[in-house]
């Protein structure tokens, strides 16, 4: 159990798991889409939180700009779906001798033969292909190889990317195909475990296109990410990271080289009172060399971070549990501290919980942020200047009644934040159909608040199925409520369910009706109308779950919805997956 606490500490740095997660019913667990990739998971698990605004997920600025989740920034900008380009260590936890995973997807509506038969064809649609093999030839050795090429939600900027590539004289910015996909990489890795210690190394190489959240410009890169991990049981962890990305367009109008080197030593421990903690100390070197596009910089820091978690149970006579999590540290010349306390009470089927969270972040003098200066027009630039005293508070109250095969409840969440970043737009332009902008994200001088009320219910369908439903409403206050860049749906209602048939076929369906969303900072307010989001999955298990075949239809009903000025529509997509294991 201690190992579980320690390994989960990073993920728990901000938000504690839902009350009673260990014994949650099938309906209470997150939506399960066996055929979808990590890329879709974020979107599908909580579609009402699209744009990532939620007290549970981290605050508006926290998630988007200050890495409130405590994760390492893999590149110049904080995490976005397309910016998760580091190596993936998930395969190290495979426990079977051989695991094979393949996934193919497509945004329905490729012209294919119609391109030859019709003079006017639709856009070419974007595919996804993932595959990996994890093999343990020896009890102590595991090897991994994989391919990850993902074009999804990227077609809108294909002309932009093709234009840049042609000017740079390059045709081979992907392992296969011709779409210049945002991610095209191969992964290799190996892990040796002995007496509870693990020695692992992994490497990926390929091409990536990153899209700046500030300017909207997309940048091509080729290079590698490598990391090394040594962990001894529950006590010590050593991690090395090396990242080298170069702009591959040698004949292009700019050159840029990005390098990140990092060493981290993690000391893990436990104390009386059910405290578990982790102290990280290390060294980090980040260097951007660029002749025109980025402002070059070299930064060497000694990141440190202390994280803790305590689960306190009251004496048996009191049905109370308290979970405290938090962290404080210094990284990339930014001081941060955050703490969350969660109280859980249980009286038979009646369960209540209260959560209080707070954070504070302060960039030190010399804090460097990516600043883009466009080579084609030196008067254009896009930058990010975080607030000097960014801080926030949130609270949540929840009550649920849980019976053997049914639960229902309601919750309310409130969050407020000072110095949330707002984009100050100075100019807009269009390049190959894509909008680009100049200006800067700046920490606002005002307070932004939002509150959410939610009701939910779920239950079993016999012994083989489940259903769940929820509805919610959120409201925003403060001067920045009308200037925040991404404003998610105010209201939503929906539900779904699943059933496992005796033929080992599983069917899952969910559908939500979401209120309108808005995107600002790209000219006139970009309004996304209220719409349905829905998904249907079939999964067939074979050979006693050793082989699973799945088919998922994403957004199977409803109109196409474009959600961002430079985005691709949310539309009908199909993912086919296969997971095979030998044990």
């Amino acid at each position: 159990m201690k190992t579980v606490f320690l390994s989960g500490l990073m993920a728990l740095a901000v938000s504690a798991p839902p009350a009673g997660a260990e014994e949650a019913g099938r309906w209470a667990r997150p939506w399960d889409f066996p055929a979808e990739s990590e890329f879709f998971r974020d979107r599908l698990e909580q579609p009402w939180n699209h744009f990532l605004l939620d007290g549970q997920q981290g605050f508006i600025a926290g998630r988007e700009f200050y890495q409130a989740t405590g994760e390492v920034s893999p590149f110049l900008w904080p995490s976005q779906p397309y910016l998760r380009f580091g190596t993936d260590r998930a395969w190290q936890s495979d426990s079977v001798p051989l695991a094979v995973r393949i996934q193919a997807g497509n945004e329905i509506g490729d012209p294919l033969l119609q391109e030859l038969a019709e003079t006017e064809t639709e856009d070419n649609r974007t595919p996804l292909l993932l595959g990996d093999v994890s093999w343990a030839p020896l009890a102590e050795l595991r090897l991994h190889a994989g391919l990850d090429q993902n074009d999804h939600f990227s077609y809108h900027t294909v002309p932009f990317r093709q234009g840049l590539a042609e000017r740079g004289g390059r045709e081979d910015l992907q392992w296969f195909g011709d779409n210049f996909p945002p991610k095209s990489q191969v992964n290799l890795g190996g892990a040796y475990t002995h007496r509870g210690a693990i020695l692992a190394a992994q490497y990926n190489q390929g091409w990536w296109w990153t899209q700046s959240p500030a300017s909207g410009w997309v940048y091509p890169w080729e290079g590698f990410n490598a990391d090394f991990l040594y962990r001894t049981g529950d006590d010590f962890e050593l991690s090395l990271v090396e990242q080298r990305w170069d702009s591959p367009l040698s004949q292009g109008f700019y050159q840029a080289h990005w390098r990140r080197s990092e060493i981290d030593m993690g000391f893990l421990g436990a104390s009386e009172g059910d405290w578990v903690w982790r102290l990280d100390v290390g060294y980090q070197r980040r260097e951007m060399v660029s002749d025109s596009l980025f402002q070059p910089f070299l930064e060497q820091t000694y990141p440190t971070r202390f994280r803790y978690r305590q689960v306190w149970n009251a004496p048996d006579s009191l049905p109370l549990q308290m979970v405290s999590t938090g962290s404080m540290g210094f990284r990339e010349r930014m001081i941060h501290a955050q703490h969350a306390s969660e109280f859980r009470e249980k009286w038979g089927p009646h369960q209540a919980r209260q959560i209080l969270k707070a954070y504070y972040r302060h960039p030190m003098q010399g804090y460097r942020t990516p600043t883009e200066s466009f080579a084609e027009d030196s008067s254009w630039s896009a930058a990010f200047h975080p607030g000097q005293q960014a801080r926030g508070l949130s609270g949540e109250l929840e009550y649920r009644e849980r019976r053997k095969a049914f639960e229902a409840g309601l919750s309310g969440t409130y969050a407020m934040e000072w110095e949330a970043p707002v984009f100050a737009l100075e100019g807009l332009d269009t390049v190959d159909g894509a909008l680009i902008r100049r200006g800067a994200y700046r920490g606002s001088a005002h307070l932004l608040q939002n509150a959410v009320a939610r009701v939910f219910a779920g239950g079993n369908l016999g012994g083989k199925g489940f259903w769940k439903t929820q509805a919610g409403w959120r409201e925003f206050w403060g001067k920045n409520a009308d200037s925040m860049e991404f404003r998610p749906s105010r209201g939503w209602v929906g539900g779904g369910g699943g059933y496992a048939f005796p033929s080992d076929l599983r069917l899952e369906l969910d559908a939500f009706y979401l209120g309108g969303k808005e995107v600002r900072g790209w000219g006139p307010v970009f309004r996304i109308p209220a719409h349905f989001e829905n998904n249907l999955t079939l999964e067939q298990s074979l050979f006693g779950d050793r082989l699973k075949l799945s088919l998922t239809a994403l957004h199977a009903f409803g109109e196409d919805i474009r959600e961002q000025p430079n985005g691709n529509p949310l539309r009908f997509r199909i993912l086919a997956g296969m997971v095979g294991t030998v044990y």
């Binding site: 193919a104 497509n106 329905i108 509506g109 490729d110 012209p111 294919l112 033969l113 119609q114 391109e115 030859l116 038969a117 019709e118 006017e120 064809t121 639709e122 070419n124 649609r125 595919p127 296969f176 195909g177 011709d178 048939f501 005796p502 033929s503 080992d504 076929l505 069917l507 249907l536 079939l538 298990s541 074979l542 050979f543 075949l549 088919l551 239809a553 199977a556 009903f557 009908f572 199909i574 086919a576």
Partner: protein, 185 residues
């Protein structure tokens, strides 16, 4: 047409409830088949009927339902297409085998289709997305007959309609195949 695809998915799901467990792989058949693929709709003006060949593995699934996976390949050409297309398809589906052997087995499946034209075949000055290969999902209803030849071998015949979910129009191809199969277990 999107709704039809979803109905196909629902049919694949709803066809299987019942009591007991999956019978997958309790019986297994390997079949080779060949026939003709006939482009239809707006494709018929551009592509001629062409030979099509494939392999199919069929298994018991649940009661009278059989499951199959298949691969098919053809080279589509015709008087008005700017370039011939290599088309491959993989599919997975179910068919209902009636008690009387002479009755056809109706079936339905979901396909993943891959098309490619060779750069050498593309006329000068033209450029197509499909030059580097394109994929799209589709589905296919079918009717199949099976004629036993002893305990192990059998002959097959089928009629199939492939619908690929392309834009601006769905791509439709009818096909008729004859084949021979062998019971593996």
């Amino acid at each position: 047409m999107k709704r039809i695809f979803l109905l196909v998915c629902a049919a694949l799901g709803l066809a299987s409830p019942g009591r007991g467990e999956s019978e997958l792989l309790r019986t297994l058949f390997l079949e080779g088949e060949g026939g003709v693929a006939m482009p239809q709709g707006n494709l018929s003006r551009h592509f001629d009927p062409v030979p099509e060949f494939g392999l199919r593995i069929t298994s018991a699934y649940y009661g009278p339902l059989l499951a199959h996976i298949l691969v098919h390949g053809a080279r589509l050409d015709g008087p008005e297409t700017p370039a011939p297309v290599w088309l491959g398809a993989g599919g997975v589906g179910l068919e209902y085998r009636p008690a009387r052997a002479w009755l056809p087995a109706p079936g339905i499946g979901v396909s993943l289709n891959y098309g490619r034209v060779l750069k050498a075949d593309v006329p000068a000055g033209r450029e197509f997305f499909i030059e580097d290969g394109e994929t799209e999902f589709g589905f296919y209803p079918s009717l199949r007959w099976r004629i036993p030849l002893g305990r192990t071998w059998f002959l097959t015949a089928d009629l199939k309609e492939d619908l690929v979910m392309t834009e601006p129009k769905y791509s439709r191809t009818g096909a008729a195949h004859l084949g021979a199969g062998w019971r593996l277990k």
